[in-house]
């Protein structure tokens, strides 16, 4: 490890490693600096300028997310100059888009909204002029409203640096700049794999989960951490629950391995089966060739009698159980215990080979 060096932030003398940024050192020591484009473990781009701080001797304010610390550096994060600059930037962002919280799905979970509140801005000093992009609702999974985009570029870095799908990038220049797939197409016409990482990282309501629209406000939603039911990676995910239903699935980087918050299309958009009307709701027993509804007791009695009779007549090895690579460990344990201890056979397998 490198030797630590000393610097001051807001009058506090701090020790940190050379190569760390001002933002990292500040956050590591409980000093709040607001950010918008910053997203850890991706490139620091210094695009939004919200994280600006004063550094003694510097010609202008510096973006703390990109500025490496140096020996004896003196940093101030909460001066009038800093706050004025942050307000100007946030007001410009506000005025350059259609940030209408009344209809926004992210209302209550929006980093721009939080910034405006934190900086105590009543209204922007500039006229609000939305770019007037059409809403993109051309697929069932991800909706985009680029009028709410603050051009932080997080979606682009998530796509290129986290998922490495290399689909999203900036196009156009200046006030016409926008984010999206090549040739300005919508997601469904692009090569997009619908991992949804862009929606998870979007700080505002520009990229949202289509199914979650009008399905529950952020403060009404209860998040339940669980393990994805699809492949063997075992991604940790939050099921977002409202009114007893899964309204969407989100990743959470704080959960760490194995997926550090990333998900794929199946984990994020493949949960409709849970609430499908096709789900089995009662036991069924075949009578006269047709499956008919039955009570649990009838079903258990039917099975117990038949299994016992078959075991008696043909021996336990005439009975086989297929356990499940989809069920929990506890259930697999009980299933093999049932086959071995109750039926008396080792005829138990599951689809590991298929």
């Amino acid at each position: 490890m490198d030797k630590k060096i000393t610097l001051t932030i807001d009058g506090r003398e701090l020790e940190a490693h050379p190569g760390q940024t001002i933002l990292e050192v500040a956050r590591g020591n409980g000093i709040f600096i607001p950010t918008l484009c910053h997203y850890s473990k991706t490139t620091n781009v210094g695009a939004c300028r919200v994280c600006m701080v004063e550094v003694k001797g510097a010609r202008s304010l510096v973006a703390s997310c990109c500025m490496p610390i140096s020996l004896g550096m003196e940093v101030k994060t909460d001066t009038k100059t800093v706050r004025d600059a942050q307000r100007l930037i946030v007001e410009l962002l506000w005025a350059s888009g259609d940030h209408n919280c009344l209809t926004c799905e992210q209302n209550g979970s929006c980093e721009l909204q939080d910034l405006i509140y934190w900086l105590k801005i009543e209204k922007p000093r500039f006229d609000i002029k939305s770019p007037g992009y059409a809403l993109e609702q051309t697929n069932a999974m991800i909706a985009r409203d680029l009028n709410k985009c603050v051009l932080c570029g997080r979606c682009i870095r998530a796509c290129n640096e986290i998922q490495v799908n290399e689909i999203l990038d900036f196009s156009m220049r200046g006030s016409h700049a926008k984010v999206g797939p090549a040739f300005d197409t919508d997601y469904i016409q692009s090569e997009c794999y619908f991992c949804g990482e862009c929606a998870d990282v979007c700080p505002v309501g520009a990229i949202t989960i289509r199914q979650a629209r009008f399905a529950g406000r952020p403060w009404e939603i209860r998040k339940v951490r669980t393990t994805c039911t699809y492949c063997g990676v075992g991604c940790q995910m939050d099921l977002n629950i409202h009114d007893g239903k899964i309204v969407k699935v989100t990743g959470n980087r704080d959960y760490g391995p194995p997926n550090e918050g990333s998900l794929c299309v199946k984990g994020r958009f493949g949960m409709d089966f849970v609430h499908s009307p096709d789900r089995l709701k009662t036991p069924l027993i075949r009578k006269n060739g047709e499956l008919k509804e039955a009570s649990w007791d009838e079903a258990y009695t039917y099975i117990a009698e038949k299994l016992s009779a078959i075991k008696q007549a043909n021996g336990p090895d005439s009975i086989v159980g297929f356990s499940s690579a989809r069920a929990t460990n506890e259930e697999n344990y009980l299933f093999q215990k049932f086959m071995r201890a109750v039926i008396g056979t080792n005829n138990v397998d599951h689809c590991a080979r298929l």
Binding site: G256, F273, S318, I319, R340, A341
Partner: protein, 526 residues
């Protein structure tokens, strides 16, 4: 996996063989891509199809389906003849080197090239890339295992890894990526015909005595039969009753016509599932189960990490968690199982399974633990075989190439290989209920090379009939160079084009795994 998922991103070289990682394990796929793009790791991809990973690969080896042993032997031939192997590791940690070397001698790059279709120079380059890396990880999936030579393939991979000293080190390893959320756990829990939990053999008197004492019963020592053997036995009338929990053999098993007939001959078919699957439709009794979001429990992922599953919503109607159903049925049959919660079951697992002994619910609340974890203070195991193998010395096996069970001929001139696509999951009973997913991937497509399509007079999107000795299906064609001439690819997700009507039920003699990756078919415009 011998090693951990997180290590993939930080290793020096990755050899991905028979794994379409970005589609089947997308989050691991992202780690491979990050290793390449951001850390300059070397990536060797061996796959008959031009999968997405090829775009990121340092070198791509397009072997003919079913020729993996020849390819791996060819690489080892180069590594041994150029002296690139880890002599010290081979001497101190392995046995069987001389016998293996003798077999491998024959597999010169040119000889291997003749069998595999991979240019000899590429075999040399790939061998050097793998052998010269400080740490190199081998990733594989069913592209390696679903062959009549599946066990040979896996042993060859182990040979290569041990030859270069890549087992038992950080960033190395022999890493099968498991395809189902809890296939690792189902194996760990003894849902296999020959072992109890933690791979304790049913044939061992000691293991049986332990479980007999805990369960208060006498247990059989005779090994059980596997899924494919079960269907054959049911066909012959030797198996009378089948209890299926959360499986859909009517779409996932080889030679479906045969499977269907086998299930029809049963006196009792019990299916416990969340949906009325193709298999459930044939059942005598169907039991409604809760899905993963409606119950508590644990899953063990591909890196042996045991993680929590938590109840988020109520199960529909009268559906119940599988563990509840099993314990209630057991009570009905005169053997009460009194568990108030899934945690109670885990406590019993802890007490009977040394590798899970220290994995308790309170310890995995925030982060899962990787087995082996022998006690309540053990942190779990990031990678296996650090200083010694389970058997002591690592066994290098001498393995000859054997062709697939069914090879193309005049009547069935194409090789068909099967697999999954990104958007669907296995028999798609779940994934096809999502409108977004169906928008992206609504139907089965037959991947066919443009030159073959031209010869057959098939244009893109046109229906084709694919037939084998066992059955036929129809699906739209996707004309693409992703497959090479003479090979077609189909996924097994769609019941409308159930590809397992065509597949060959020939099994690996040891693992009893069917040869899904190679069968001979005929393709015609429909």
């Amino acid at each position: 996996m011998t090693n951990s998922i997180e290590e993939i991103e930080f290793t020096d070289a990755i050899f991905a063989i028979g794994t379409n990682t970005t589609e089947n394990h997308p989050v691991i796929g992202a780690k491979i891509k990050r290793a390449v793009r951001q850390r300059g790791a070397k990536l060797i991809v061996a796959d008959p199809r031009e999968i997405n990973l090829v775009k990121y690969a340092t070198i791509w080896l397009r072997q003919k389906p079913g020729t993996d042993v020849a390819l791996l032997n060819g690489m080892m031939n180069v590594i041994i003849s150029e002296g690139l192997y880890d002599r010290q590791y081979v001497e101190t940690r392995t046995e069987g080197f001389e016998a293996m070397k003798k077999v491998v001698e024959k597999y010169t790059p040119e000889y291997a090239s003749n069998i595999t279709g991979v240019p000899a120079d590429d075999i040399v380059t790939a061998a050097r890339l793998y052998a010269e890396a400080e740490a190199a990880s081998i990733l594989y999936t069913m592209g390696i295992t679903q062959h009549t030579t599946g066990v040979d393939n896996v042993k060859s991979i182990a040979n290569l890894a041990m030859l270069c000293g890549n087992v038992g080190i950080e960033g190395g390893g022999v890493n099968p990526l498991r395809g189902q959320n809890n296939v690792q756990g189902a194996c760990d829990m003894g849902a296999l015909p020959v072992v109890f939990t933690g791979y304790q053999p049913v044939g061992s008197d000691e293991a049986r005595a332990k479980f007999e004492k805990a369960w208060g019963v006498t247990l059989p020592s005779k090994p059980g039969i596997t899924i494919v053997e079960t269907l054959n036995a049911a066909h012959e009338g030797k198996v009378k009753a089948l209890y299926v929990m959360g499986e859909n053999p009517m779409l996932s098993d080889p030679d479906l016509n045969h499977a269907k007939e086998a299930l029809r001959r049963l006196d009792l078919l019990i299916v416990q599932d969340i949906l009325l699957s193709e298999t459930a439709q044939l059942a005598h009794v169907v039991l409604p189960a809760a899905c993963f979001a409606e119950k508590d429990g644990t899953f063990s992922n591909t890196e042996r990490r045991v993680q929590m599953v938590r109840k988020a919503v109520e199960a529909p109607g009268q559906a119940k968690a599988d563990w509840k159903i099993i314990s209630e049925l057991s009570a009905k049959m005169g053997y009460p199982m009194d568990y108030a919660t899934s945690e109670d079951i885990m406590k019993e697992i802890n007490s009977l399974t040394p590798s899970y002994a220290g994995i308790t619910y309170d310890r995995i609340e925030k982060m899962g633990i990787q087995w082996p974890c022998p006690n309540s203070t053990h942190p779990g195991t990031k990678f296996l075989h650090k200083d010694r193998f389970s058997r002591g010395l690592g066994l290098l096996s001498a393995i000859e190439y054997i062709p697939p069970a069914e090879v193309p001929d005049a009547e069935y001139p194409f090789v068909m290989t099967t697999g999954r696509v990104l958007y669907h999951y296995h028999t798609a009973t779940m994934s096809r209920l999502s409108p977004g997913i169906m928008e992206r991937c609504p139907e089965s497509l037959v991947e066919i090379n443009p030159k073959d399509a031209e010869k057959l007079g098939v244009s893109a999107g046109q229906f084709v009939k694919v037939s084998s000795r066992r059955g036929e299906v129809q699906a739209k064609s996707e004309v693409t160079t992703r497959v090479s001439e003479g090979t077609i690819f189909m996924n097994f997700h769609f019941k409308e084009a159930a590809v397992n009507l065509l597949t060959n039920p020939a099994l690996d003699p040891i693992a009893k795994i069917p040869e899904y990756k190679v069968c001979a078919v005929k393709v015609e415009a429909a």
